[in-house]
Amino acid sequence: MLRPGSRRRPWTFYGLAAFFTLYVLFLYGPMSAIFILSFQGPTGGLTFPMNGVSLHWFSALFGQQRTGDFAGSFTRSIVLAVIVLAITVVVSVMAGLAFRRRFLGSTLVFYMAIFSLIIPGLLLGLGVGLMFQFLGIKPSWYSSALGAQLTWTLPFGLLIMFAVFSRFNPAYEEAARDLGARYWQTLWNVVLPILLPGIIAVALFGFTLSYDEFPRTLIPIGSRNTLPLEIWAMTTNVTSPALYALGTLTTAISFVAIAIALTSIALIQRRRTRRGTRADAGD
C-alpha cells in the first residue's frame, strides 16, 4: 500500500509492476508480430523469417481477385460506424441523464440494457434477421445491421455515462440553478460542457465497437459485407500475408480514431486547467 508519507516503495510494488509489464507484453506482443509480418516480401509466408520487406501484400489487397470487395466493405464500415457513433452519443447521453433519478421502469430498462449487452451476439443477429424476414424487409447494412449494432453500443454508452456521472459534482449544477438558470440552460451551458470528455469517450466506443463488430452483424447484414465480415471470410480461406496487411490497415484506422478522441480529451482538460489557473490568479 503506497501511503502519501512513505518514501520507500514496498516490495509488492516491484512484483506487481513486473506482473503488469508481462500483461502489457502479452497484449501487444502478438499484435506487433502481425504488423511486422504484413510487410513480408512477395515470397514471404505467414510466419517468420521475413523474406525481404515490401508493400506487396498491401497492394494485393486492392486487387479484386484475392479479397473480394475490399474498398466497398471498407467504405460501408466507416459510414456505418459514423452513424452508430452519432446515434449512440445522443441516445445514451439522454438515457444517462434520465438515470440520475429513479423513475418508473428504470430497473426494467437497466436490466434490458444489461441483457442486450451480454446476449450472445450471433443469437441477437439471428433474432434481428428473423424479424426482417417476417416483416418482409430485405436486410441491409444500414437497417438491420445498424439496429443489431446499436444493441451493443447503446448499453455500453449507458455504462460509460454511469461512470461519468459517478464522478460528476452536482454542486455546479445547483449553483447554476441558484443563479436562476432553467433546466435546459443548466444542461446545455453547465452539465454537458463538464461532461464533454466523457461524451467523447462514448463516441469513441460507438465508433470502434461498430467498426469492428461482427458476431451481431453476421446474420442480418444482407448482401453487402462490412469490413470485419470480409476479414472473417478471409481467415478461413486466405493463407497469405494479405490477411495481416488488412489487419494492419484496419488497426491503423482504429488507432487514428483513438488518437483523435484522446487528443481532444487532453486538449479540453488542458484548456480547463489553464482557464482554472487564470481565474484563480484573477481573484
Binding site: P30, L126, G247
Partner: protein, 291 residues
C-alpha cells in the same frame, strides 16, 4: 402544490429522456428475442419454416448427447477463462490504483491496457497464429534457448490456444470495471485501517475486495457471457478440434436451419441468464452503479 407539480413534470422529463434508448432496445433486442423464442417452436420442412407449435426442436436438442458435450466444453472454457481474467483484472487494477502515482501516469497505463480493445477482435485473435504455430515465434525462441528440441505441438489449434485467445480478447472486460470500482475507494478508509494496525493482506481482504465487488461482479458477467456466446475463437484457434454451443448454432444458421438453431439459442440464453442472475444475487449491481 407547485413543488409536487414540478416533481411530476421532472418525472415525465426523465421518461422522455430515456424513451429513445428504451424504444431502440425494445425494437432491436426485445422483439428479436421474442421472435427467437417463437421460432424455436416452429417446424422445419426441408428449408421452409412452418409456423406451428411443435416441441420437436427441443426434444431433438435434449435427446442428443452432442448437446451435453458442447455445454460441458463451453462451460469448461468459461470457468477457466473467468478464473484467469479475475486474477489478471484484480492484480492489474490493484497495481494501477494503489501503486501508481501521479494520477496522469495511472490513467496513461490504464489506457495502454484499453487500446487493443478498440481494435478488431478477429485480427487480435489471428495474431496468435504466427506466434504459437509449429514454426512460430514462441517455438523458435524455445529451441534457440535450448529449452526444447522439438517444437511444442499443443500450442496452436488446441484448448490452450483457445484459452489464450479468450484471455487476450476479454481480460479488459474484467480490468475496466474492477479499476472503476477500486478508483472510487476513499483512501482515508485504507489509511485508517493501516493506522489501526491492519497488514497489507488484511486491507485487501477486508476493504479492497468488498469495495470492489460491483466491479468484480460486472467483469465476471461480461467474461462469462462473452465466452459462452463465442463461436469464432473456438472455430479458428482450436483448428476445428473443439466446438462451442454457439459454433454449433452458427453451423445450423449457415444452412438455414432456423428453428433448431432458435431452440438451441433459447436454451443457451436460459443457461447464461441463470449464471448472470446467480452473480447478481450476490451483488446488487443496479443499486451500486446507477445510485
Amino acid at each position: 402544490m407547485p413543488a409536487r407539480r414540478s416533481n411530476t413534470s421532472r418525472l415525465r422529463l426523465h421518461h422522455l429522456l430515456v424513451a429513445p434508448f428504451a424504444s431502440l432496445l425494445l425494437v432491436f433486442f426485445g422483439v428479436p428475442l421474442a421472435l427467437v423464442v417463437v421460432v424455436s417452436f416452429f417446424d422445419l420442412d426441408q428449408f421452409d419454416i412452418i409456423p406451428t407449435f411443435v416441441l420437436t426442436n427441443y426434444v431433438e436438442l435434449f435427446g442428443s448427447s452432442l448437446t451435453y458435450t458442447l455445454y460441458a466444453n463451453t462451460i469448461k472454457y468459461a470457468v477457466i477463462v473467468w478464473a484467469i481474467t479475475l486474477v489478471i483484472g484484480f492484480t492489474v487494477s490493484y497495481f494501477l490504483v494503489f501503486h501508481v502515482r501521479p494520477f496522469l501516469l495511472q490513467l496513461a497505463l490504464f489506457l495502454l491496457c484499453t487500446v487493443p480493445f478498440w481494435t478488431s477482435n478477429v485480427i487480435r485473435m489471428i495474431s496468435w497464429i504466427p506466434f504459437l504455430g509449429r514454426n512460430g515465434i514462441f517455438n523458435q525462441s524455445l529451441i534457440a534457448l535450448g529449452i526444447v528440441d522439438q517444437p511444442l505441438e499443443f500450442l496452436l489449434f488446441s484448448d490452450f490456444a483457445v484459452v489464450i485467445a479468450y484471455v487476450h480478447l476479454f481480460s479488459l472486460f474484467m480490468i475496466a470495471p474492477i479499476f472503476n470500482s477500486m478508483a472510487r475507494i476513499d483512501p482515508a478508509v485504507i489509511e485508517a485501517a493501516v493506522d489501526a494496525g491492519a497488514g497489507r493482506f488484511r486491507v485487501i481482504r477486508e476493504i479492497v475486495v468488498p469495495l470492489s465487488k460491483t466491479g468484480i461482479a460486472m467483469g465476471s458477467i461480461f467474461v462469462v457471457a462473452l465466452v459462452m456466446g463465442d463461436f469464432f475463437v473456438v472455430k479458428i484457434m482450436s483448428g476445428g478440434q473443439s466446438a462451442s454451443v454457439v459454433l454449433a448454432m452458427s453451423n445450423e444458421t449457415a444452412v438455414l436451419q432456423y428453428p433448431p438453431a432458435a431452440a438451441s439459442a433459447v436454451v443457451l440464453l436460459l443457461v447464461v441468464t441463470a449464471m448472470v442472475v446467480g452473480i447478481l444475487r450476490i451483488v446488487d449491481v443496479r443499486r451500486e452503479l446507477a445510485g
